[in-house]
Symmetry: C2
Subunit: 320 residues, 2 copies
């Protein structure tokens, strides 16, 4: 039995995990004003609470896996940089291990979600998967041969920050034309609102004037209402996301690309046109087919993936 922890900027959640099944999730609030040592001490208590909530003696916990924000050097067990919390080179593995007397393995939180989703969620039938999470930003992770791929010092797998239109939209990372600037929920909402502005008599515009708050689903309501601007935005969204997926296919050629984030709840409505766009352009598509699937685990993916990461490491250590 392994404790998986999903550490975030608002809260940390934990549960005991075995074979991809988790027990009751316990949580604590986290705060950027707490010193790192205090946060880590809270995580130690959280791990014990998870065991207690599951009715499992803490002694029988084999290891702890933690998905943490920022740049994580999983090999060294160090959070190299978590800007929002002011963490720099925090030896999270070592310190949490000293407090809990358990082996602790850490990884980036988006990578944890990818490993969880690939192992126990929509990717469970495939050995190679890329998770693309469409949120305020675009994150995700890469799982190859059932193992997380992180790149040199964990700095790889930055799916949102690959340029897809050189010289295009300005990105927060400093480059121009990153995938994130076209397919994040933030970009989708901004494009939907722009389309509404261009057609003041259109359905989107009317909805906004009537007080509809813009979110990632507004575009789809615009499509339902037959707004021509919405249709254009949707076509561009599909083509840019499609090109991003095709690029991942050119490089990693996974068996499956998994789409996470709120918008993936649109299901076939999003996946259908996307699959069509990709299948029409994918080289050797019949020879090495690529599945495009919606993620299944939602918020659970992080805990399950963090636990899976620890499970694989403990298993590997056992073999050596």
């Amino acid at each position: 039995m392994i404790v998986g922890i999903d550490l975030g900027g608002m809260s940390a959640k934990a549960a005991c995990v075995e074979k991809g099944t988790k027990t009751e999730v316990v949580r604590i609030a986290t705060s950027s004003s707490d010193p790192a040592k205090q946060t880590i001490s809270s995580l130690a208590h959280l791990a014990e609470s998870a065991a207690e909530a599951a009715g499992i003696p803490f002694d029988s916990i084999e290891a702890i896996g933690v998905g943490a924000p920022g740049i994580v050097d999983s090999g060294a067990g160090v959070v190299a940089a978590w800007t929002n919390f002011g963490w720099k080179d925090v030896p999270l593995s070592k310190e949490l291990s000293e407090l809990t007397k358990k082996p602790v393995f850490i990884l980036n939180d988006a990578n944890a979600a990818a490993l969880g989703e690939a192992t126990y969620g929509a990717g469970r039938h495939f050995s190679d998967c890329v998770l693309v999470t469409l949120g305020t930003g675009v994150g995700g992770g890469v799982v190859l041969g059932g193992k997380l791929f992180e790149g040199f010092k964990g700095a790889g797998g930055e799916i949102g920050h690959t340029v897809i239109r050189a010289g295009g939209r300005k990105c927060s990372c400093g480059r121009r034309g990153c995938l994130e600037t076209y397919v994040s929920t933030r970009a989708l909402i901004a494009d939907t609102v722009s389309a509404a502005r261009r057609e003041p008599q259109g359905a989107l515009s009317k909805a906004l004037r009537a007080g509809r708050k813009p979110d990632g689903f507004l575009l789809f309501e615009g499509l339902d209402m037959g707004d021509p601007g919405a249709e254009k935005v949707f076509q561009q969204y599909i083509s840019m996301l499609g090109e991003g997926i095709l690029n991942l296919a050119s490089l990693f050629r996974p068996q499956a690309v998994l789409l996470g984030g709120g918008i993936s709840a649109e299901g076939e409505r999003l996946l259908g046109p996307l699959r069509k766009y990709v299948d029409e352009r994918l080289t050797a598509a019949e020879y090495a087919p690529l599945q495009i699937l919606a993620a299944e685990l939602g918020n659970d993916a992080g805990i399950l993936g963090a636990a899976e990461f620890a499970r694989q490491k403990v298993g590997k250590d056992g073999q050596n």
Copy 2:
């Protein structure tokens, strides 16, 4: 001792390889009009010739590695498609193994060059390298943890066919804006000639009128002659190649990107501006630095890489 074979559309070359050192290279002509069985039979003789030329009894050859063009399913030992030779699902490993009584391991030729260059060439000090070969097209391969990364059924690592400017230049693969359409030698030459046409009084234009044949080095001569059009083409070339390398860094985050192909002979003149472009934009550059280096092995990379691939496979089989 292992025989490495580099199979191409004009010739096949082979040598015995041990610890990255090869003996005399022997070669035969290849022809698309020969049936696959005949070509494979020639390869069997070629492997024996390589041993003979090296003064090594063929009995002491442990295995044969073959880099072959096209889509290669190295796991199955099958050339899935080599269009120019009309090969489709040719079981090269099995047939060559039957003729030579040796274990035979095959891989894509660009991947063989990448593995050779990463293991014994410019990448020898790094465990994770991406080779980008700037030729008529843009090829290369990905080596992670010292092992070749090929993707599902060998269809990954297609570095040239990642879109970098969505909606941009038409590519032979059917998509628009692939890296290859901006940074291949073919693209570089076309852009140089276009620049010359725009300035009939410029140095580039005069050189072409005086009978200079356009090639990949013409641009650099134009720079020497102070042609303003050449400078513009060079800046665009650096920025597109830089964006391509930054994209590889975002996803694979290798320790080194190795540049192959004729143009890499320009050395610092190309590498200097390219490093500057990349370093100014690479996230976490100090934390996880990325080297950009010229490939060193030239045409030898393919033979060395094919042999290395076989060496790793034989070693692995031995361990099981």
